[in-house]
Amino acid sequence: MFEKKYKSAMNKTLPSEEALNKTLSAMKEEANPRRRRKLFIKRSVICVAALSLVFASVFTAFKVNDFFRYSGEKEGVTGYGKLVGLKAASSKSEITGVISDYYRAQNSIADRFLGGFANGNAEVDYIEEVAPDAVVDEEQAEETVKTDDEITYEGSFYDKDIPEHSDTNNQVIGVQEADIVKNDGRYIYFCSPENKMLYITEAKDGKMSILSKTKLKGNIIKEMLLLGNKLAVISEYTNGTNGGNDTICIFYDITDRSKPELVNEGRQSGDYISSRAIDGHVYIISAFRQYRKNNEILPEYDGSEIEAQCTYIPDEISNTNFTIVTSFDTNADGCDNTDVISILSMSSIIYSAKENLYLTATRSIYDSENTELNENQTVPTSKTDIYRIELKEGKMKPTAFGNIPGTLKDQFSIDESGDILRIASNINYATVVKRDNLLENVLEGAYRFSFSETCNKVFCLNEDLDVIGESEALGITEQIKSVRYIGDIAYVVTFRQTDPLYAIDLSDPENPKTLSELKIDGFSTYMHPFGNGLLLGIGYDADSKYGGTTGLKLTMFDISDPTATFDISSCILSWENGYSDSSALYNHKATLIDAKKNIIAIPISEEYCNTITEDGYSTVRYGVSTYFVFFEFDGKTLTEQKRITVCENADNFFSSLRGLYIGDYGYLTHNDGIISIRLDTFETVDEIKYSE
């Protein structure tokens, strides 16, 4: 009955004629009629190419391809190779030259065989399977990362009477990450992505009052950084000329909290990726995509093209997108721009230590046009380039470049410890298969790849970013779900059906050793050190037989002896009564974790469906309720302690919910207002709404 009715209703759901026509013309435009004229030339080229291919395959031994070489080649070890360089451009024409060379190479299929005198057929391989993580990570990188460390600022305001308070969950101590909510012990700052407003609220002993509401510029409000009496709000703005976005960082002087004053505005090309603040210097990272194949468009800062000397070009490029990093000095009254650099490579995951910023870019095997391979050779399908940029008082200088096979999960996959950089990556291997059909051979390339296996490794790189050591393959057939480095130990969670927690000793970077492997059901997507010898994992519970997720799960691990880690206790919110979700699974900034105060709290959204009876009619409504859930860990068990309802019967999942504390009071900020509670009894003290 349902099926028949549904089918009949769906049969009537059809796209409009107009939309179909538009789609057809979009397809034609993409296929580019210009190419058809060249078909004749191309055919002759194809014949020559085919012939030369036959000769080539007979007479030429296959070379080891650069793509499969990684920095720090060990002699006799395949898979590691030469270091590729990075240099500053000397002029604009050099940059545009590199870009047009790239397109020329892409455009020419005959190029693969003849060295590029034909120009036709641009094919951009789109492979759905390649690095889905990288896409997700980009999203995550925008939103994620915080830590427990306190950043103190000098100045009269901060000197006295500031109660103990939470900070954004920064990954590295002393490196502030941006978030939508900031808190300095007296005031709560919230930049609302939905209302495009900045709200500053004074909070004292649970009582709150709104001091100011400021309309923010930009189409999409991203997040902000708090630097003493300055606030840097990052947003995106549509750029009419190149079809992409510009990232804007607006600096407010908030000495008078009731009247934020705009002091500077930096505008750079590209979508916002991430940002960091170190010692009052703000670094904003954006990615500029060439939406059209127009090599004249170069990224801009403040309306003028970034100078060639500040643009760095790697020896090998895999796309024509740029990463732009700008820095601003908020110690100066005007928050002036200090430096701008751009790199011809598109970064997605950003990691920053205090003195070095690391940009990473993933490339797939399909991006490497000039690949020459041996049949049946097993090769990794993607690799990650790492760029190190030295940060000195806002001045930036690329100092090293390296790469490793595989893709990264998120910023927690990377860690700098002294001169050693440690990176955990997920590597997919594929076997090279030669195409038999000669025509296909010419049209599609001589090889295709057949995916063979997946594993994970932790790499140690020296100060030149050469690989000096690597762990054994972890979690074969599994994927990295989370990584956390604590001292010299890397904790890696991989998952397919059960969750092995690996502890890897990196104290000798040339010989990483796996110390232990703990298997439990489910997996953690984020791990947070919880005081001495404890590690809190936030993730999913899963069915050990089939690997399907069955609920949310928090697990406390004992890691005091890394050779014998074990799980002390888990708290599972199962999905029997309705699916639930938590933004803490994707965004570590959504968590409120403090080992000293013994606080573990995450936002949770729960789907429900129930029957509402109104005027004698009853209907079933589907909706989402959002809670902030506090957990209690007493040394032995982890249990749900208190659930505070923030929003009921909403249509959508709530993403802008954050929890923070000041002194003995907790504050739950959401898009419409703030709820304050006592942390000991969880009773509501005060509630404000921004709309009032």
Partner: protein
């Protein structure tokens, strides 16, 4: 399918004829409005030209379109473009003109992954394995989506029928 064929207008028209409705229905189900669904449909077909995938059969081709449509709507929900777009009120869907729309409406009120699974199972008659490939989810996850979907629909539809 050799790539040069893709540039032939007749081939393009035929590909649209074969797959446009399938793609559009999924996009409509997942975005809940006709404008976004049409945009996504266009994007999916442009992607088809760009990536020029090889197909062994029309079933294979259809599976590719379904998978890309699901993926595109996913990235659509998280894309910057979506975030800066204010959804228009849905005035152009003639609910009142369409009988049987109650069932469609009930499906559309479900969370989008559930509705997609239900749609692929009942409308496109796909097997669990195929759905799990198309949605990049494990088979058990698809089963649980279907299970939850059926449960929700049973409650909802029995209520409506008793009215």
């Amino acid at each position: 399918m050799p790539q040069r064929k893709l540039r032939n207008d007749d081939v393009m028209t035929a590909v649209i004829e074969r797959n446009a409705a399938t793609v559009y229905r999924i996009a409509y189900l997942r975005t809940g409005n006709t404008h976004d669904a049409e945009d996504i449909m266009q994007e999916v077909f442009v992607r088809f030209i760009k990536s020029a995938p090889e197909f062994e059969s029309t079933e294979h081709e259809k599976a590719w379109f379904i998978r890309v449509a699901v993926n595109r709507t996913n990235s659509f929900f998280t894309s910057a473009w979506r975030r800066r777009t204010v959804p228009l009120p849905e005035e152009d869907i003639p609910y009142w003109e369409n009988n049987g729309i109650d069932v469609l409406d009930a499906v559309m009120r479900l969370p989008k992954d559930i509705s997609t699974a239900i749609h692929l199972f009942y409308y496109e008659n796909m097997a669990i394995k195929e759905i799990s490939d198309a949605m990049s989810k494990s088979e058990s996850a698809v089963k649980s989506l279907l299970f939850r979907g059926r449960k929700l629909l049973r409650i909802e539809l029995s209520e409506e029928q008793s009215e």
